[in-house]
Symmetry: C2
Subunit: 358 residues, 2 copies
Amino acid sequence: MQTLSVNLGDRSYPIHVGAGHLDRLGEFLKEAGLGGKVAVISNPTVAQLFLDPVHESLIEAGFEVTPVLLPDGEEHKNLASLTVIYDRLISERFERRSSVVALGGGVIGDVAGFAAATYLRGVPYVQVPTTLLAQVDSSVGGKTAVNHKDGKNLIGAFYQPKLVLIDVAVLRTLPRRELVAGLAEVIKYGIIEDPVLFHLLEQNIEKLIERDLELLTQVIVTSCAIKARVVEADEREDDYRAVLNFGHTIGHALEAVTGYKQFLHGEAIGVGMVKAAALSTQRGFCDPRSFDRIVQLIRKAGLPTEIPGNVSMQSLIQGIEVDKKAAGGKIKFIMCEGLGKTRFHWLAPGEILAALRA
Amino acid sequence: MQTLSVNLGDRSYPIHVGAGHLDRLGEFLKEAGLGGKVAVISNPTVAQLFLDPVHESLIEAGFEVTPVLLPDGEEHKNLASLTVIYDRLISERFERRSSVVALGGGVIGDVAGFAAATYLRGVPYVQVPTTLLAQVDSSVGGKTAVNHKDGKNLIGAFYQPKLVLIDVAVLRTLPRRELVAGLAEVIKYGIIEDPVLFHLLEQNIEKLIERDLELLTQVIVTSCAIKARVVEADEREDDYRAVLNFGHTIGHALEAVTGYKQFLHGEAIGVGMVKAAALSTQRGFCDPRSFDRIVQLIRKAGLPTEIPGNVSMQSLIQGIEVDKKAAGGKIKFIMCEGLGKTRFHWLAPGEILAALRA
């Protein structure tokens, strides 16, 4: 097992990465100073696979466990699911020293984290991500949120977990499509920060998809370390943290416009990264060779690279405008400068539209 | 005009107290570094009295103003009102640099503050409290929340405003009953921290109720200074800040049990303080002479001092148990030790019940 740490003063926490240590969750919670009541927020699919070992481990460590299952899917990342959690925490008389465990993918982590951030003005929570996407991205850094009907993650809080437990072995049962979607965020880290990681992905993308646990552990540790460094530098996304949104401006809009049904988050980010790299190349920030490598790797991973014909560019631009990165009517767009380097560039929505149409 | 400050590192902010400086709001917002879009959250009663000068002042200072009116009353301090605000902020394309002004009493301040804390994971907000209660208590310290059907303030966040503007002149139009309710919190500061303030209240309670603006300014400044010191010492209520809940354990439960209809918050706190002082005296923490002075002052202010006959003690205890101050099944009860000093004492709900029945 490897342990990274996210250093944020009195909000610091460890990330434990390993294979097969899910059943040590109770022990880690105790180590983190937690005790008493704990709610495990999950969904039926994940619960069927992993709730038993988690539940048992928590009971063995002396916790009083309340499982709370939410329906599966991005469309349930909303205030209604939040209400389900609040109601249970209240009826089970959860107190300020009680805690919340998010056992699942990004939706569960975001909703459970926001519930923890706001129940009694904040109770401790722990992330146990069960998808690759959640392991390398959403479980680290304290962004919690629910969606609004007009946009993703519009309601939320910055609220750090007490610890993150990443068990790579859970990826064995993850559907291939979801694993590939998770690789989109790993590719993103390569593009924005780490040419060595990018090269490793170019060499080993098939092995990763075949779930080589050793390689998966390696790219997860590298990804989490990059994310931790970015979050440490700018926890509340006042500036630099926005670099993590590379490919997300267009990606988020694409998800929204297609009703969160056609694309998994990582798939939309695949398209978004290709478009962001194309725009970077058009504007002269990215060299054509790096652009080709980016498109090739995204395609090789099996991720989509094009905006489908049934999506109108105008609706996409409207989606971008409502996205929270807008400020003063301009969009803070993240351009890549080849591999491993980025720059911010303010664009009017119309300029993005022109580039998408080109 | 007097300016106090709440010192919380990068979350520090000023409290401007004066009479008749409501129309300088725009100027203060600019001074605080705010600009662009601003939503003024209020209710129809307050808006009719004060929205015009506030609106004009913001426009003059170059802001783009969106008024959002919520229905009046504690029963609207809920997720539904929050949704009204989110919807407006989104439809008006509010961005991370946009801001929120809470123009109203405690309900408006708490809901608007929580909306600001959670919209786009946090936008700046400003408190312009228009009731005495909000001026001396809820507008300072960054507690934001909405109620759950099973209890008050169960969903919320600690989120500090960028500034607080207290215009004592707005109290001229405040209904007498609400002014008196606000005095309950002022009396509380005297009991927990400041015998001199307590004595001043004993001497001048009638003049305060007759709205002597000079005296009101004096007690508001003293109250805010006490609150600021407590919040600086323990922003997230890990321990000491709970002293501000003197009288609130029973008071909150009384409000909940009577459906937030029979008592104003300050009135319930009046009863709660008498009962807390009685319990403190029974347990030997408070001398009988101080107890008498506390009861006399609360009565002289015109606040209720007794639990009404139609409220069952059992339901009151259930209300206390769900209150967020519970931990490990015991209640962190704030006892007064005469005037100006307090101590925490852990009590089982049954022990409180026994004392209430005595």
